[in-house]
Symmetry: D2
Subunit: 314 residues, 4 copies
């Protein structure tokens, strides 16, 4: 939903260079929202990044800020909206922000809100049941959301990153192409480990239809990803990727498309023979770099392909 | 040049989910190449990431690796090519690799090679002039390159990141929109600092025409970026961005398009009045988060817009 | 237990400089140990760093390696010992390594083994109960251990880092010194958050007495740290620190001394008045830098003070 | 100069745990100081961490802050002193702060100031010679300083980190101990690379004698470290370390002691034989982990050994 079709404005007289696509905003607003339900407190902990685009030729060509809502103002809005609207989910919070920016400023035509959420668990304590205000960072994967609104349509993308998983068996790798640079021996039993980065696009068409339950959907997609990873007897990480995506598309009708970036976190079997020891798939060296990187999207039949697979910054 | 038009293959019978765009390869191969010219040594220090795509439905749908050149083989190829072809520039080295993968394997239709290069200076030593084999990491910005080849056409993108620059004056910020969430005071003199990430697409149409001098071009583009930053009296970071891009497009005919990601590294003037001190633009707090983020592409008139502005991972 | 009393050897003739304290070894050996109990697998995931010291004057003064067990050999030993001795706990594994280096090489007088352990949970799957080989990184805090052996005595230090905790109330801060640079308003209700780095020294005197149950002890110390943080009505982070340490010393007789490094992860109440909103301890900005840093050791009465409070690298 | 001899105060009645060594303060104050000399500006860019200790039993035992200068106040002092005293060198600035804290507050007995300094170069621009206010981060190594004052004596330690150096030849490694876990082949020509972390203690005895020129001393010590690394034909990294330290002690009379932490940044010669290529010390894989780690101090004859070699956090 990036504005790829933008026709660059004419360049200023005598200048050879046109402004192309552009966006701006305040990134990484770290907002923590406490809600008090008597002595029982709840916490949501977000990192919110705002990117706006619209009629921004003048500020680039001449430095006139007349159409610019400052990034400082977008920061203030994030904190004010945490109070006014609360944070029920990253998606709901992002939608409130995106709608505000596009509908309140004529010069803003599109808003894209990116959110990371950090999870907290409650600390078990000896306090009474109605006194609960102590938390420990769960340290699990980071939940992500991206909300884009252009005044007409919505694109809502959920996601997660840093979900590290490992199967200590039920993974083979053989039957691949051998060219003059191939030295890798085939294997019928290896460790398969990866750090899942995934994002999934909701098919929700906008206000005419009820929204998905963003919280429930996140919880269930995460569960399907883990289960599919665990349940797949793997002949390649690509196959595991597809099975993870197909499980989500199959089980969660609200999801149309899911993109994965799966580094192959190599665990090399250590050669212990020089020390008179047999290594029967017991001792591994966990390597850092280089690593295989498998990236793909998986789509519901009939759905549009909108998430590009190649998303890393240059 | 991502294969965005890919028609997903039919899903396996009974499966709801199609494979969409995909790519794979070995990432972050850290190759160091020493060249000995008598006692005078030269060093190139790269981080090379390979991403291949093509006929890869089977490996995703069934785990058959029959069309898969392994990521381990792509790693071996990187090191072997460092010996066979040497490293004259990241662009030349990436081109040799991309051409090899696409032309040597029928199942590979497209190769994208990403390279980071780390710079080294010579250590001054008391050794004779013809004995020079000691180096110190320059620690300056990282040079980047991305080479994409699909068997027919080339896309060559140079770049850099982590180039941190600061003007201690000649920057103003005023005249912006005031909405109910605006509290920022206007200023006629502020520090302007940013960490430049830029990538630029060469217009080089392929083998029919001589290649640009990649080394010289990198050196000159970098110089123009610094000079334009320093020379621009700035009314907004957007204006500075445009001036940097326009300078490159104007001065370097081999560059058709340049994309920037410029975080506004805020330097807040510290209020020293409570301590009876005047702070006449002398003492600043360098802040981390949040930060304004300004992103845009600048294009040569008539050139295609091919680098999307919104490149960050979800 | 660093060899602080080392008498530097005489310097080589004509040299002005003596060798002082020194140590060497292979750092960050990433060893993953899988144990198969039928179809039920177990995993231990460590990062092991070896530091040896002893008769090492010659290698520094002349480059003679005759007394040097290479760092590569220490790496091999880590992987071989993972097979030979298994990994029951970081402490037990570190002890096996330290004993080996000191007792097998005359030139090695002291070995210090540092270990980080990363925790994994099992993935719930639909597999039969006796088929369990899928794991997800718990992502919780990292467990640490440091084992030092000099041929005569042992020093065993357990620990953890990256345990992030937050109380959303029951924290005050007032009554402090006001000097000419003090501007901070007092508060009777603030968020208190920190990222606990702690290490605790076991009083275990060596082989004459049975070892503590290292696994159980770690689990219980961690629980006491969390409970004490949650249960303490805090007037200062220093007070909370002491209560956490005192709880451990009180409840765990095997621990003689515990050291904390507690950054005060500031959560600033955002001023929403300019937007006509009241912020009744609901919306906070989570700040990065600068941060208060509180460091202290807490000791059992009668125990020696052996862990220095000031441990950060220069 | 850590207060290792501290006698823990009596524990509160009925408590089993004593407070041991302790310190506190605000860490990572990022202060940027601009000095305007007409149109020519100068910049110093520091990260300042304050740690204070003294009569702090009450704040730990009871939460009374009556003796506590808040960390917020220490932050304010850093910024105010940047205005009042300027920043001629990290050492001078740290001394002004340390003296202030110890002499202005009865409860503060010791102050330790740690400083990192980031270097900037000027950007070449077309502006007139008397208009110079554009800078680019040099990105070289980070300079460090640690100043400790206890009301009577000073300890001044300069330093640097992240200085990455490499010799592409003139390094051998052989003649080492072979035990049952040794597999490393000997070599007569290898790449030797390391990332220098060094800190050196000045012998300056305090105010009775003129201070060293801290700026000049830093510049010269850095030069000697580089030259000694380049000039040493190395049989072991330990030997190179000693030669670097000895060169500094020999050439710089103001330095009494220098400590090094030198990771051996392994560059492995890649085996290209499977591809029919000879690798005559030309193509290397730059590895990340594990790495050899060599740590030692080098002392002037007759000087006290005060910097412990084992400084890493547990």
């Amino acid at each position: 939903m990036t504005d790829t079709s933008r026709t660059p404005a004419a360049a200023p007289a005598g200048r050879p260079a046109l402004l192309g696509q552009n966006q701006y905003g305040k990134s990484e607003n770290r907002v923590v929202r406490i809600t008090r339900d008597g002595g029982v407190h709840h916490i949501r902990d977000l990192n919110v990044s705002v990117a706006l685009s619209g009629d921004m030729d003048d500020v680039h060509y001449s430095g006139s800020n007349a159409s610019v809502l400052t990034t400082d103002t977008t920061k203030n809005t994030v904190f004010a909206f945490a109070k006014k609207h609360g944070i029920d989910s990253p998606e709901q919070f992002g939608m409130a922000l995106a709608r505000h920016f596009v509908t309140s400023q004529e010069s803003i035509h599109r808003a894209r809100i990116r959110i990371e959420e950090y999870a907290w668990d409650r600390i078990e304590s000896s306090a009474a049941d109605d006194v609960r205000h102590s938390f420990v960072r769960a340290g699990r994967e980071t939940r992500t959301a991206q909300v884009t609104f252009d005044g007409a349509g919505w694109e809502i993308v959920g996601g997660l990153r840093d979900l590290v998983v490992l199967n200590s068996t039920d993974s083979e790798f053989w039957g691949y192409v051998k060219d003059p640079y191939t030295t890798l021996p085939e294997t019928r039993d290896r460790v398969l480990a990866t750090e899942v980065t995934a994002c999934w696009r909701y098919g929700w068409p906008g206000a005419a239809v009820g929204e998905p339950d963003w919280e429930e959907s996140y919880r269930l997609v995460r569960g399907h990803l883990l289960a599919a990873f665990a349940d797949t007897y793997s002949l390649s990480l690509q196959q595991t990727l597809y099975e993870m995506g197909a499980r989500v598309v199959d089980a969660r009708p609200e999801v149309d498309e899911i993109r994965f970036s799966l580094p192959n976190k190599h665990h090399f079997l250590v050669d212990l023979e020089p020390f008179g020891l047999e290594n029967d798939n017991e001792v591994y060296l966990a390597a850092d770099r280089p690593y295989g990187l498998i990236e793909a999207t998986v789509l519901r039949e009939g759905a549009d392909a909108r998430i590009p697979v190649d998303m890393t910054n240059l």
